[in-house]
Amino acid sequence: MIVEGICIVIAIYCALRAVFERNTLKKLPFINAMNFAVTGTLVLLMPHPITIGVALAYFVGSTLESNAIASTFASRENQ
């Protein structure tokens, strides 16, 4: 139970940090740390072989979103 608790507390902490950070690009590291914690929580709460695919789909999807947001900012700065 303590492992799940650590992951959930870290996820909530990082989500709050991301909400109160004003610069969008600086929110992304906090969201990345939150994604790590949520992926860990998913696996710990649902230990089933399919969860490996679920956790990876969530993690890669959220990383791709961060990538897309940062790329959009980069191309907007170039223009």
Binding site: I2, V3, I6, C7, I10, Y13, C14, R17, N23, L25, K26, L28, P29, F30, N32, A33, M34, F36, A37, T39, G40, V43, L44, P47, H48, P49, T51, I52, G53, A55, L56, F59, V60, T63, L64, S66, N67, A68, I69, A70, S71, T72, F73, A74, S75, E77
Partner: protein, 162 residues
């Protein structure tokens, strides 16, 4: 069997050293991998952060690198042992390719993490779930506390090594 309270901090340090050394080996703090990571690096540098450390943080954000490989290998190993870890390694490679990354850092990180976790759980008696919490705590220190001080710390180590 080591107590979980003791195992979590030890596995956090092991995970930090593991993915730190693999990310340094693949030269993550050297340059931005995609255009988005350059933008994040500039945002960190503008608020007093370090250039090389900023690139490493930005590269971890924009593609699944050794840190993600460590976490997902730990997850696969916790659920299904060695076969689960092998599935995670393959999926990490596919995931890194989706994010326009070459995938070397993520795949080698997952492979190294699988070997380390297998050795420590089989021979040293670490609980398997301690590595999930360990890698989450390790990434919290790099990404979640302060991008400014974390980037300065990473940049200092990177310049000392090169």
């Amino acid at each position: 069997m080591i107590d979980i309270i003791l195992a979590i901090p030890i596995s956090a340090v092991i995970c930090l050293l593991l993915f730190g050394s693999i990310d340094f080996f693949w030269k993550l703090p050297n340059a931005g991998g995609v255009s988005g990571s350059n933008a994040i690096e500039k945002a960190i540098e503008n608020t007093g952060g370090d250039k090389n450390g900023g690139w490493m943080i930005a590269n971890i954000v924009t593609s699944p690198d050794a840190s993600a490989g460590t976490l997902l290998a730990a997850c696969g190993f916790y659920i299904w042992g060695i076969p689960g870890a092998i599935i995670s390694i393959i999926l990490v490679y596919i995931g890194a390719r989706i994010c326009a990354d070459k995938g070397y850092a993520g795949t080698s990180g997952a492979l190294a993490a699988t070997i380390v976790i297998w050795i420590l759980t089989t021979f040293a008696g670490f609980p398997q779930e301690s590595f999930i919490a360990g890698s989450v705590i390790a990434i919290l220190f790099i990404q979640g506390i302060s991008a400014k001080y974390a980037s300065r710390f990473i940049g200092k180590i990177w310049r000392r090594l090169t």
